[in-house]
């Protein structure tokens, strides 16, 4: 049995005291323990941002890459060794800003892995600029006169892009989050979880309280997760009441399912020292 301590590292996370990332890290570890996945069979992939540091603070294999590019890395990790449980973690800027191209294309690929976005509606690590999820009008270092564009709606985008598991949770509710992550990992195919994450240093609007006063659980409310239109409709709710939980879940073949190349043996375990190209050379003669 995997224990919480198996996932601990010696260094303490250097996030600001009170940062919402702490709760997410706990839920993430909790989910891995609950699912009983050996740490060496987990790959934790991230880009750059406060949230991107997660792989350094959990004892699994990790890759802390470049800003916005974690999903392609994770995709290849999974395709190279489909025996691994692969997580991608990162910020809203990382995933919905600079990484938006990969976000949409990964959603339509249905690789069996889990993507968790620490959505604090701000650029934390670069000390407080607007993020794609910042609300219209918000004043930040890079938008001192207020954000002009409307925020992205990651839930609606993921649904529109073809994701097969789309959920939202809240870092301030570790239980809900852990449950959601467990469901995400169990889902066969790409699972996407947008997580509300209070940033105590640069976002003094969307605080723990702000969320607590607004979030309600879709599952408790009896939401039908199999209906795409209803899921989309729910994704449009914002303001006084904000839904969390699973918006949409549907089963369809994973990307790996359609690759006979890795049906029997993961790529990484295939022998490469006896490849025979003589037939290939004949083709050119």
């Amino acid at each position: 049995m995997v224990k919480m301590t198996d996932l601990n590292v010696i260094d303490r996370p250097n996030w600001c005291p009170g940062c919402g990332n702490f709760g997410i890290l706990i839920a993430l570890k909790g989910a891995i323990v609950e699912l009983n996945i050996e740490p060496e069979n987990v790959a934790m992939i991230s880009g750059i941002g406060c949230s991107g540091k997660v792989p350094h603070w959990i004892r699994t294999y990790g890759l802390h890459g470049i800003h916005g590019r974690a999903l392609p890395v994770a995709t290849a990790v999974k395709l190279s060794n489909n025996g691994l449980t692969v997580f991608t973690v990162g910020g809203d800027g990382d995933g919905y800003g600079i990484g938006m191209c990969h976000f949409i294309h990964t959603m339509r690929r249905n690789i069996d892995m889990t993507y968790i976005v620490h959505n604090n509606m701000i650029y934390g690590l670069t000390t407080g600029q607007t993020s794609p999820t910042s609300e219209k009008g918000v004043r930040t270092k890079s938008t001192p006169s207020g954000v002009i564009e409307v925020p992205v709606n990651p839930i609606a985008l993921a649904i529109s892009a073809g994701a097969t598991f789309v959920a939202r949770s809240f870092g301030g509710d570790v239980k809900h989050l852990q449950k959601t992550i467990v469901a995400a990992v169990k889902h066969r195919g790409l699972s996407f979880v947008d997580v509300f994450q209070p940033c105590v240093s640069f976002n003094n609007v969307n605080t723990y309280d702000w969320y607590k006063q607004r979030v309600y659980d879709l599952q408790a409310a009896g939401h039908d997760t199999t209906d795409k239109i209803k899921a989309f409709t729910k994704s449009q709710e914002w303001g006084e009441h904000i839904p969390i939980g699973i918006f949409y879940e549907v089963l369809s073949p994973t990307y790996e399912d359609e690759l006979p190349q890795i049906k029997d043996t993961p790529l990484v375990k295939q022998l490469i020292d006896n490849i025979d190209i003589s037939g290939l050379m004949d083709d050119f003669t």
């Binding site: 992939i45 890759l63 290849a76 990484v268 190209i277 050379m281």
Partner: protein, 589 residues
Amino acid sequence: MAINRLTWKIGGKAGEGIMATGMIFSQSCSRGGLHVYDISEYPSLIKGGHNNLQVRVEDREIFSQVKGVNILIALNKETILLHKGELVNGAGIIYDSSEVIEPKEINDNIRLYPIPFNNIIKEIGVQGIMKNNVALGASIALIDYDFGIVGEVIKDNFKRKGDKIIDENTRAAKAGYDYIKNNFKNDFEYKLEKTGKPGRMVLTGNDAICMGAINAGCKFYAAYPMTPASSILHFMAAQERRFNIVVKHTEDEISAINMAIGAGFTGVRAMTGTSGGGFCLMTEGYGLAGMLEVPVVIILSMRPGPSTGLPTWSEQGDLKFALNASQGDFPRPVLVPGDIEESFYLTQVAFNIAEKYQTPVIVLSDKNLAENHKSTDKFDPKKVTIDRGSYADPADLAASLDTTFFKRYKYTENGISPRTIPGMKKGIYTASSDEHDEEGSISEDIDVRIKMMQKRARKMDTLAKELKQPELVGSQDTDANADADITIIAAGSTKGPIKEAMILLEKEGIKVNFLQIVYLNPFPSEKVAEVLGSAKKTAVVENNFSGQLADIIKEKTGKDVDKRVLKYDGRPFYPEEIFTAIKEVVTHG
């Protein structure tokens, strides 16, 4: 009468099957034991623009095109107007008899072979698109070559399309063949004869790169289409199920290199390929691989820039870019194959270097090498042994603690640290793009920074020591001339025309040595400095505007070459151009 020594050319509109027809001709020659080298020109559009393909055939190994066309198949009038200047005395033009050619349009010494394509096609009842087969057959008759071989090649090429297509193509070619035999005297000056020797492969540099990659155990190829690297993607995709490779056409080049990094990190040999614009988008990932010490092979196939430039032409304008891409100092091995064989073997070497030194490796090619065909002896798949580098010792792993990360970035004398991959018990670590300590943990410590920079740099020193300095050769790969008049230094696809030019120069009594740079980095400074110090004269031959190789040589050795022979119009060198330029340097300085 010239036997087994001619240049055959076909031209017409894009989309008319010029390339396919040329390929049949090349393969037919090769199967007859002859050597071929073909080169195609096409604009960046799909249909209607002018395409042409030129095949040179001889009964010795040949390395490039030469000036002078002996037989021109003109599928339209434009082809005649564009290429008549290239025809030598006694050359023939095969063209549609419905085109009117004014006597003044064409030199007296050129023979005309008008063919009623449409009639023939109607008669034998095949599609209009088969016109080029008729023309092909006609050319075979003209040069008196064995039609049987052509028939076989057609059969093999259209195998997958079914008997009907094979039959139609063959009949079209045969009809053209017969038309010439029946309507013209057999007095064409240029002939081909099969040699009875076994046929060779006819393939491009990109084909060779793919074969090399597959042979090296590449299991993951991610790329976004970009001329002239697209055909690597097509090749690898076509072979994905045969060789169990995951091939991914990604959303962009950023994704492509990051996927390759993900695969490399997981322990799979991975490659990506692109051209300049796509490589721009890969530069950040390139540095990432350098920092993570993850093996990745990047094929950078050059075309003329800046920006979109001449997308379907060739240039060697990214040498300095490849050497310096991405921020900061880190090991950046860059290998430059000069021909198709080297494309095969060096790709395999690139995988070995990437894994042994845990670093990204660039293989620098260009459109000329990537897309032109050459008849080539079968490769030796056993020549380059797979070297997967240093994985962590199981004993070390077993001994390591359960609470710490594995020392994946251990300071070692040769700079190479033991590697673990996901799934290995107790090998756990995080590969970090931030500067990190031996365990991969982020560190801003002065001491760690200095040691880690030095550790990474030492890998390059170790590699440099492992490599042999390049050898100076004389014409036709003989030993170098002790008293050469000039030494040519070059890298990449200019090798072919240089070899041909050396033969021409030798005939004029000019002794030339050649130093091919295969490793742009680690650069063989020692050898190059020695050559520059001892040669009577030196020249670089480069397909770019500024003489980038000459700049690199100067940076590394402090020495100028005497002459920069440069060409940057997108076209490859003709041996004759190099001949003239070098002769000029030798005779007039």
